[in-house]
């Protein structure tokens, strides 16, 4: 055990500016070939039985053996005719379930010739106004069913005269709206029925059930979203975007939920379990996956995609007072990455992370299929983070040069977010925190205590002055911890 050292110091912290991108040599990044001539708009990826399904947003689905991942040939045109598909779960090499604009569809190649013959609608009992923003992400429920995360519509686009499903004039009001039934909800398809599961979403372009049976859904900055929130979704909860409440019998049209005050929404909602800053974290939160044991680090944590920047994020869940919350840090920011990171899948050996990319519709084109491999054996990153009484317990991936730690080594600030009907938001009530002490628990682990730790704030820890015993700096030093609860 390293002797305990204790230092009291006060720091001023410059705001974390835009980070210049370079190449992170800890990772190997490869561009992977797509079928020749296709617009590389990857709506979804899925892997089963050593085959990769590639789902493109104009509606084509291709499949190839993973052994041919780097070959330009080997793609089989598996299916066509899907409307902006953004979710996929494979049931076998010949059967794929896809969420498209109007439907959850089970596609099957019945005769084994590689070309799908049958497109069964598992459910289409949700509305569609014709607006471009009502896209659907999906994941397995682990028990033969599926969760579908349904986007709201945007006032930047029109609706149609002919609406699929029930229409709500009250739900039509607002910046992002829920004029068609179940827009803004996470739905559960189980035993042949589609049931409402949780409400209050804006554009949940990523939903994932992890190995601990936790259901995560991200959302995108916008109205009622001051940053990019990540939620642990539980049945019956409302997640803060009020448009969807027109379809909740406890509210409905008559209650005019789109006019609810911020205070009323606050009283009803489940707050984000992880708040991810927009500029310094994730601009557009998309696909979510769990990092497998064999990736090389961070097993059991989540990797999340930024659909609008050359980076992937990492989420370290933490449990305080029986509530999940946790930390966000980048997994990789790298000039070699495209910026339209949308869907993620690990190869079965767990060592390679595939990224399907698209930005058609907004933003600069930054599309395709890439992969990330952790190739370093001497990674120096934040490994885990726990909130402790009065501070944080940080475990690094490599031994820390404790003697190099000085008064500047831990720069901490904290702030809050205020979610309102306005689009996005900046950190508010920003405070520079005073580090009261730090001590070494072992070669990998530091305990940092703050003079004051307060629930309901996001803590930004800058580890830019923490070094390994071989003098490496932290690859991704900016850590954001959402302290909804404190011990």
């Amino acid at each position: 055990m390293t002797p305990v050292k204790s230092i009291l110091f006060l720091l001023t912290v410059a705001a974390c500016g835009s980070l210049s991108l370079a190449q992170n040599q800890d990772f190997t990044i490869d561009d992977l070939p797509l079928p020749q001539g296709v617009p590389p708009e990857v709506g979804a990826l899925e892997i089963i039985d050593d085959h990769l399904f590639l789902v493109l947003r104009r509606g084509d689905v291709f499949r190839k053996p993973l052994s041919k991942l780097e070959d330009s040939d080997g793609w089989v045109h598996f299916a066509e005719g899907l409307h902006n598909p953004l979710g996929a779960v494979a049931l076998s090499k010949d059967k794929l379930v896809v969420s498209q604009m109007a439907e959850l569809t089970e596609i099957e190649d019945l005769n084994g010739d590689g070309w799908a013959d049958q497109y069964l609608s598992l459910t289409n009992e949700f509305g569609l106004t014709g607006n471009y923003h009502e896209t659907n992400a999906m994941c397995s429920d682990g028990d033969g069913g599926f969760f579908i995360a349904m986007g709201t519509a945007s006032h930047n686009g029109p609706i149609f005269q002919r609406i699929k499903g029930a229409y709500s004039p009250e739900g039509r009001r607002g910046r992002n709206f829920s004029a068609a039934q179940w827009n803004g909800w996470v739905m559960h398809y189980t035993n042949g029925e589609l049931k409402p599961f949780a409400s209050g979403f804006r554009q949940p372009n990523g939903i994932f059930l992890d190995s601990k049976n936790r259901l995560w859904a991200g959302d995108n900055e916008g109205d009622w979203r001051a940053c990019s929130p990540l939620f642990l979704v539980e049945r019956g909860n409302f997640h803060g975007h009020p448009a969807s409440l027109v379809w909740d019998e406890k509210h409905g049209d008559a209650a005019q939920p789109t006019t609810y005050s911020v205070e009323k929404v606050d009283s009803l909602r489940t707050r984000p379990h992880i708040r991810i800053p927009y500029k310094d974290g994730i601009r557009s939160l998309a696909g979510i996956q769990e990092i497998p044991e064999t990736f090389g680090a961070f097993a059991g944590q989540l990797v999340v995609a930024d659909n609008n920047a050359r980076r992937l994020g990492r989420v370290i869940p933490d449990r305080v007072k029986n509530q999940w919350q946790g930390a966000f840090v980048h997994l990789i920011e790298d000039e070699r990455l495209n910026s339209g990171n949308n869907r993620l899948r690990f190869t079965p050996d767990g060592q390679r992370l595939l990224i399907g990319q698209t930005t058609r519709g907004w933003g600069k084109l930054a599309e395709g299929l890439q992969s990330v491999i952790l190739s370093s054996e001497s990674l120096f990153e934040l490994d885990t983070l726990r909130l402790t009484e009065g501070g944080f317990r940080l475990r690094m991936t490599n031994n820390i040069n404790f003697s190099a730690l000085s008064g500047d080594s831990f720069r901490v600030r904290s702030f809050t977010y205020h979610d309102t009907w306005l689009y996005g938001g900046e950190p508010e009530d920003v405070r520079t925190e005073t580090v009261a002490s730090f001590e070494m628990e072992d070669e990998l682990t530091i305990l940092v205590k703050l003079q004051k730790l307060e629930a309901g704030r996001v803590y930004h820890l800058d580890l830019g002055e923490v070094f390994s015993i071989s003098d490496q700096s932290v690859g991704n030093p900016h850590v954001f911890y959402t302290a909804n609860q404190i011990p």
Binding site: E80, A102, G130, G157, F160, I163, G165, L422, Y423
Partner: protein, 349 residues
């Protein structure tokens, strides 16, 4: 009907894309008679009577929403003439049709082409490749358009039809659906005559030995009962439908605010630049013209030159807080740029 009576109202183009049904950047996707192309997309409502949409809800006009004030204005935002959940099928220039998964019936058929998807897919030349016109435009001439409430088969229950799926069998499309406790299969394949198709509706549960054969007459559906094996019935076209291209071409307008306004929506500027001061991915146009732009110490007045440069060279000057390399360069001619500048200047008033 005499085939010579057809009037080809509009034949825009035939796809020059790759022959495979695999979609490409070609905004005129086409299948062939042997290998049809199935495309699920938003489709235009070509003037189909309301009674056809008995299982749809009606989208209503709403008031323009001022996002910053959280208030509505008096300006009406009407719904547009689209249908959200159809399956479109193309057999090359020979035949296209649209089958609706909400009404579970054929909505329209045409020949001479399929869809021009530019409005929805955007064009590769447009930088961010996005269209804001939403609805694809029909290519070709319409040979059939649904009218009247669905009357056949008569034993279709009064319950709302529910789409079950699509089975593909070569050129034949089999649409599976149910209504109440009954299940049906609607088979459609191209007829020999261009623009015509063969359709039969079979009740599969409870199984009946008769096939409902549909024939289209001027006054609506005429229903016949036949035996299995009678073969399907040919649908006759009853009317030609004039398709009007409603989208106005900005190039047809003189330099001015109106042309700029049209370009503002046509190029999707509205996705990132609001007109009401609200925050978005790019600076709002409200009050932009003539304002002082602060570039970390250096200030510039947003005059016409600055606005024009920001349109033609989006990365030349990036106001702190916005992203470089975000706005695409657009294929604009000088009249377009002048018009956009005038439109932006108007937003300062």
């Amino acid at each position: 009907m005499n085939r010579t009576a057809y009037c080809f109202l509009q034949i825009i183009a035939v796809s020059t894309g790759i022959s495979s049904a695999q979609l490409s950047y070609d905004n005129l996707p086409m299948g062939s008679k042997e290998e049809p192309l199935v495309l699920r997309t938003y489709v235009p409502d070509i003037g189909i009577p309301s009674e056809v949409f008995e299982n749809h809800s009606e989208g209503l006009s709403t008031k323009q929403y001022r996002v910053r004030e959280r208030k509505e204005t008096d300006e009406e935002v009407p719904p547009i003439a689209g249908i959200p959940a159809c399956i479109a099928v193309n057999y090359g220039a020979h035949l296209s049709f649209v089958w609706d998964t909400v009404e579970c019936r054929l909505l329209y058929a045409w020949k001479g082409g399929f869809f021009d998807m530019s409005n929805y897919w955007g064009s590769p030349e447009k930088g961010n490749r996005v269209g804001f016109g939403y609805l694809p435009e029909l290519v070709g001439s319409v040979t059939y358009r649904a009218t009247g409430s669905w009357e056949a088969p008569s034993d279709r229950a009064n319950a709302q039809p529910i789409f079950v799926g699509l089975r593909r069998d070569g050129p034949k499309m089999v649409f599976l659906w149910k209504s109440g406790s009954s299940s049906f299969e609607t088979e459609i394949k191209p007829a020999e005559q261009p623009g015509q198709l063969v359709m039969a509706v079979n009740q599969t549960k409870p199984k009946v030995e008769t096939v409902t054969l549909l024939s289209l007459q001027k006054e609506g559906w005429e229903q016949k009962k036949g035996s299995q094996g009678d073969g399907p019935h040919y649908l006759s076209p009853i009317q030609q439908v004039e398709i009007t291209q409603t989208a106005e071409d900005p190039a047809s307008l003189p330099v001015g605010v109106e042309r700029g306004k049209l370009l503002y929506t046509r190029y999707g500027c509205n996705a990132c630049h609001t007109l009401d001061g609200a925050k978005s991915h790019g600076p709002t146009f409200s009050g932009l013209s003539g304002s002082i732009r602060d570039f970390a110490g250096t200030t510039i007045s947003a005059d016409a030159n600055y606005l024009a440069e920001s349109i033609t060279e989006p990365n030349a000057k990036i106001v702190p807080g916005y992203l470089a390399n975000y706005m695409p360069k657009l294929p604009l001619e000088s009249k377009d740029i002048d018009s956009l500048v005038l439109f932006i200047q108007q937003q300062a008033q």
